[in-house]
C-alpha cells in the first residue's frame, strides 16, 4: 500500500510536536491503527494522536497532499499543487478594522475550488501562477468545500509546467435539461428556451467594466433568470439553444449563465410555445421547489398550517423601515412608528412546506380591511396582536394559492408573494375523474 511509505514523514511530524515524549515506533503503530483499522482520514488521525498525548495539534506542520477533487469540507490541514485561475484583492472588516484579503479560484487537472487568503502579507502571486500550498484548511459553504489560507499556510511558486495545462471543465457532450430541472452547481448544460425579457447592464468584475445581458427565459416546464456574459444579440421572443452553460445560485435562486465559450444558436421561433403561453406562471409542488432550490415566478397551492410571529399589524421605523419591537427601533431608538400589515405564513401542500411572506396589499385583500381599520380595531382592543389572531382564525387550514419568487437558504424555501387567493376546487369533478381512471 502506498500509505506505508508515505506515513513516515507524518510520524516525524507528530513526534516533533510531541517533543519526543512518545516513542516513534509507538506513534507509527497507533497512526497505522487509526488509518487502517478505524479508517480515519490521515489529517484527523494526526490531530487525534497529538491531542491524546497532550500536544497542540496546531503545531503540526505537514499537511496531507490532495488533489482538488479529493478535498472535503472541514479538513484541518491539506497540501495542494495547483494553478491560480483567478486572483482578486479586497478589504474586509474584521472586528471594526479593515483588513486586506485575497480571494479567487484555483484548480488542478481534477477540479477547481474557491479560495480565500486571510493573511495576505506580501502576496505576490498572480492569475496563472502554479503554486505549492502547504497547510491550508477547508470549510464548508453550501455543502461544498472552500479552501482557506491562514497564518500557518505556506505558499511557494512553482514553475508553470509543474502542472499540465488543463481545461477548466472536463470536455464531454453537454447534457440536455428542461428549465425546471436546473439546479445550482450544474455545468456543461444544453438548454433550449425562449427569451421572455432581456436587458443590458454594466457590471464591475474584478475592477473591469463588463456588459452583461440578463433577463428571463422559459420553456414549457418553467422560467429561469439568465446572465449572458457576451453580446449574442439576444432579443425578446428569440428561441435559443445554448450548449455549455452553467447554473449558479444567485440570491437563493438557480440562475443560468453562459459566455462566449458556449455553442449558441437561434432556432426557428415555432420550436417553442408562444411568448404569452410561456409567460404564464407555472404551478410547482413545494417538494419540487425544495429539491430544485428555488425558482422565479412560481405558483404554489396548499394549506396555511401556521402563522408566524411578526404577522398582522406591525409598526415600522419611519427612517429605516425596520419593524419596531415595543415601539423601539433597533437603530433609531424610540420613534413614532408607521403602521403596516404583513403575514408570515407556513404554507404546506403535502409534498413540503415553505415560508410565505405576504405584504400589505395582499394582507388587506385577504382580511378585507385596510391598515387604518386594523389600527382602529387594535386600538379598541388595546392589543396589537388581535389582528394576528384574526388572521389565524381566517387562514389556518385554509386552502390558498400563492404566486411569487421562491428563494432557498438554510431555513428552506422562502416565497415572497406577488399575489394570493383563497382557493375553491370542484372536489366532485376531480373525484369523478380519478374514480373513472381507476375503474378503467
Amino acid at each position: 500500500m502506498k500509505e506505508n511509505e508515505d506515513i513516515a514523514p507524518h510520524v516525524e511530524d507528530i513526534a516533533r510536536v510531541l517533543g519526543d515524549k512518545v516513542d516513534k515506533e509507538e506513534i507509527d503503530r497507533e497512526l497505522k491503527q487509526y488509518l487502517k483499522e478505524y479508517r480515519i482520514p490521515l489529517s484527523t488521525a494526526k490531530q487525534m494522536l497529538v491531542k491524546k498525548y497532550g500536544g497542540a495539534p496546531s503545531n503540526l506542520g505537514l499537511g496531507v497532499f490532495k488533489t482538488v477533487e479529493q478535498l472535503t469540507p472541514n479538513e484541518p490541514s491539506v497540501d495542494l499543487l495547483c494553478r491560480l485561475i483567478s486572483v482578486n484583492h479586497k478589504d474586509v472588516e474584521v472586528g471594526g478594522e479593515k483588513k486586506p484579503i485575497v480571494y479567487g479560484i484555483l484548480g488542478d487537472q481534477t477540479a477547481s475550488v474557491p479560495f480565500t487568503a486571510w493573511e495576505v502579507g506580501d502576496w505576490q502571486f498572480q492569475k496563472g501562477d502554479v503554486v505549492r500550498v502547504r497547510n491550508a484548511y477547508t470549510k464548508e459553504w453550501k455543502g461544498q468545500p472552500q479552501l482557506n489560507f491562514g497564518e500557518r499556510t505556506n505558499i511557494e511558486r512553482e514553475s508553470k509546467d509543474a502542472l499540465p495545462n488543463f481545461a477548466p471543465t472536463p470536455i464531454s457532450d453537454p447534457k440536455k435539461y428542461e428549465v425546471k430541472d436546473l439546479k445550482g452547481g450544474m455545468s456543461n448544460i444544453s438548454l433550449v428556451a425562449r427569451v421572455l425579457f432581456v436587458e443590458k447592464r454594466n457590471v464591475n468584475v474584478g475592477g473591469e467594466e463588463k456588459a452583461v445581458f440578463s433577463g428571463i427565459m422559459a420553456d414549457k416546464s418553467g422560467k429561469v433568470q439568465f446572465s449572458a456574459w457576451h453580446d449574442f444579440g439576444l432579443s425578446e421572443g428569440d428561441v435559443i439553444k445554448v450548449e455549455g452553460g452553467y447554473v449558479k445560485n444567485w440570491r437563493g435562486i438557480p440562475q443560468f449563465g453562459f459566455d462566449e465559450r458556449v455553442k449558441f444558436e437561434v432556432l426557428d421561433t415555432d420550436k417553442m410555445p408562444p411568448l404569452d403561453e410561456l409567460a404564464e406562471r407555472h404551478v410547482y409542488q413545494i417538494g419540487e421547489l425544495i429539491d430544485r432550490g428555488g425558482a422565479i415566478d412560481v405558483v404554489v397551492e396548499g394549506v396555511i398550517i401556521d402563522i408566524k410571529s411578526g404577522s398582522g399589524l406591525i409598526f415600522r421605523c419611519p427612517e429605516c423601515k425596520r419593524v419596531l419591537q415595543k415601539g423601539v427601533c433597533r437603530i433609531h431608538g424610540e420613534v413614532e412608528g408607521k403602521a403596516d400589515l404583513r403575514i408570515k405564513a407556513v404554507l404546506d401542500d403535502g409534498t413540503g412546506a415553505l415560508t410565505a411572506v405576504l405584504g400589505r396589499d395582499i394582507t388587506e385583500k385577504l382580511i378585507g380591511k385596510d391598515v387604518k381599520e386594523c389600527r382602529e380595531i387594535a386600538k379598541k382592543a388595546m392589543d396589537q396582536s388581535v389582528i394576528a389572531d384574526d388572521l389565524k382564525d381566517l387562514l389556518i387550514a385554509t386552502p390558498i394559492r400563492i404566486s411569487g419568487d421562491a428563494s432557498f437558504d438554510d431555513f428552506g424555501i422562502m416565497l415572497i408573494a406577488k399575489d394570493a387567493q383563497m382557493m375553491s376546487i370542484d372536489v366532485q369533478k376531480e373525484a369523478k375523474t380519478m374514480l373513472d381512471e381507476l375503474e378503467v
Binding site: Q285, I286, G287, E288, I290, D291, V303, I305, D306, V346, D348, G350, T351, G352, A353, L354, T355, I396, A397, T398, P399, D410, F411, G412, I425, V427, Q428, E430, A431, K432, M434, L435, L438
Partner: protein, 293 residues
C-alpha cells in the same frame, strides 16, 4: 439545513397500518412513522369528524383524548399540558364536529413488533364539510401517487432512491418508499386501492346514499343487502333519535328493549348496529351508549 417537516395528508386507514418507525439519531433528530406506502410521517394535516373527547388525566393535569373519523378509519389524538392551545380547544369541543388538525406523529409500543400510532396536535380548528371534502380529495391524490409509484417500485429488480425518483417521486417520498420496501414484508396494494376508491366515492353523492346508488356496483351491493336490512336500519335510527334525550346518546339496553318490541331479533339488532357503525351514521360516545352522527 433545518427544513420544516411536511404535513402529510394521509388516511387513518393507511396511517394506522404502519408498523415501522424510523428514529432519528442524535439530538433533536426527528423520528418518522413510515407507512406501508412509504409516507415518512413526522407531521400530519388531517380533517375529519371528532366523534368523542374525554379527559383521561386529572382536573389539574388534564390529558385530552379524542377520536377523529375519516372515510377509512379513526385517528387518535391526545393533548396535555404541553399542548395548551390544542388541549383548550378539545376541552370545549362538543362532538360531533368537523375539525382540522395539524400535529406530530406519535407512537406507543407496548411490546416488540406492536406499535400504536396517534397524533399529538399542534393546532386544532373547527371547520366545515367543504374543507373536509377538500382534504379527502387531497388525501386521495397523495394516496394515488404513492400507490402508483410503490407498485412500479415493487416491480423493480433493484429499487433505489434514485430509481424511485425517476418514477416521479421527490426525494423525501423516494426515501420513504425505499424504507417501506425494506421494512414491510408484504404491501397490500389491493387493500389501499380499495381505500382510494372508498375515499373518492365518499366525495360523490351518487355513491353516498344509504339505499344504494344507480351504478352497476351499487346495484350489486343493493342485491346483497336485503330490503329488510335497510328498513331495519331506518327503524333503528328512529329508535336512537327517540331515546337520545339527554345528548349523551341512547343507552344500549333501552335500544335493545325498544327494538325487540318493534319485532327485531337480537342478531338483526347487532347486524344493523355494525352496519350503521361501518357507514359512519352512528357512533359510541361512551361504552354502552349510541348516538347518531
Amino acid at each position: 439545513m433545518i427544513a420544516r417537516e411536511v404535513a402529510w395528508r394521509i388516511f387513518a386507514g393507511e396511517y394506522n397500518s404502519s408498523i415501522h418507525v424510523e428514529s432519528g439519531v442524535g439530538e433533536r433528530a426527528p423520528s418518522y412513522v413510515v407507512t406501508p406506502l412509504g409516507a415518512k410521517v413526522n407531521r400530519l394535516f388531517v380533517v375529519g369528524v371528532v366523534t368523542d373527547v374525554e379527559n383521561i388525566g386529572t382536573d389539574t393535569e388534564p390529558m385530552w383524548r379524542a377520536r377523529l373519523a375519516d372515510p377509512t378509519g379513526v385517528f387518535f389524538l391526545s393533548a396535555g399540558q404541553y399542548q395548551p392551545e390544542a388541549a383548550q380547544i378539545l376541552s370545549k369541543l362538543k362532538p360531533p364536529k368537523f375539525v382540522a388538525v395539524i400535529g406530530k406523529s406519535r407512537t406507543y409500543s407496548p411490546e416488540e413488533g406492536v406499535i400504536y400510532v396517534s397524533i399529538r396536535p399542534e393546532t386544532i380548528k373547527e371547520v366545515n364539510s367543504e374543507l373536509r371534502d377538500f382534504w379527502v380529495l387531497n388525501s386521495c391524490r397523495s394516496l394515488k401517487k404513492r400507490l402508483e409509484i410503490v407498485s412500479e417500485a415493487m416491480k423493480m429488480e433493484k429499487p433505489s432512491i434514485e430509481n424511485i425518483i425517476s418514477l416521479g417521486a421527490d426525494r423525501n417520498l423516494a426515501e420513504g418508499i425505499m424504507s417501506a420496501i425494506e421494512h414491510y414484508d408484504y404491501i397490500d396494494i389491493a387493500r389501499f386501492s380499495s381505500m382510494l376508491q372508498d375515499g373518492l366515492k365518499h366525495l360523490l353523492p351518487e355513491h353516498q346514499e344509504i339505499d344504494g346508488g344507480e351504478g352497476v356496483e351499487a346495484e350489486e351491493r343493493q342485491n346483497k343487502e336485503s330490503e329488510d336490512n335497510i328498513e331495519n336500519e331506518e327503524k333503528f335510527l328512529e329508535i336512537i333519535e327517540e331515546l337520545d334525550k339527554d345528548v349523551k346518546g341512547a343507552a344500549w339496553e333501552e335500544i335493545m328493549e325498544m327494538a325487540q318490541k318493534k319485532g327485531l331479533s337480537r342478531i338483526q339488532i347487532e347486524e344493523t348496529t355494525n352496519s350503521l357503525l361501518d357507514k359512519g351514521l352512528i357512533y359510541e360516545p361512551v361504552l354502552g351508549r349510541i348516538k347518531k352522527i
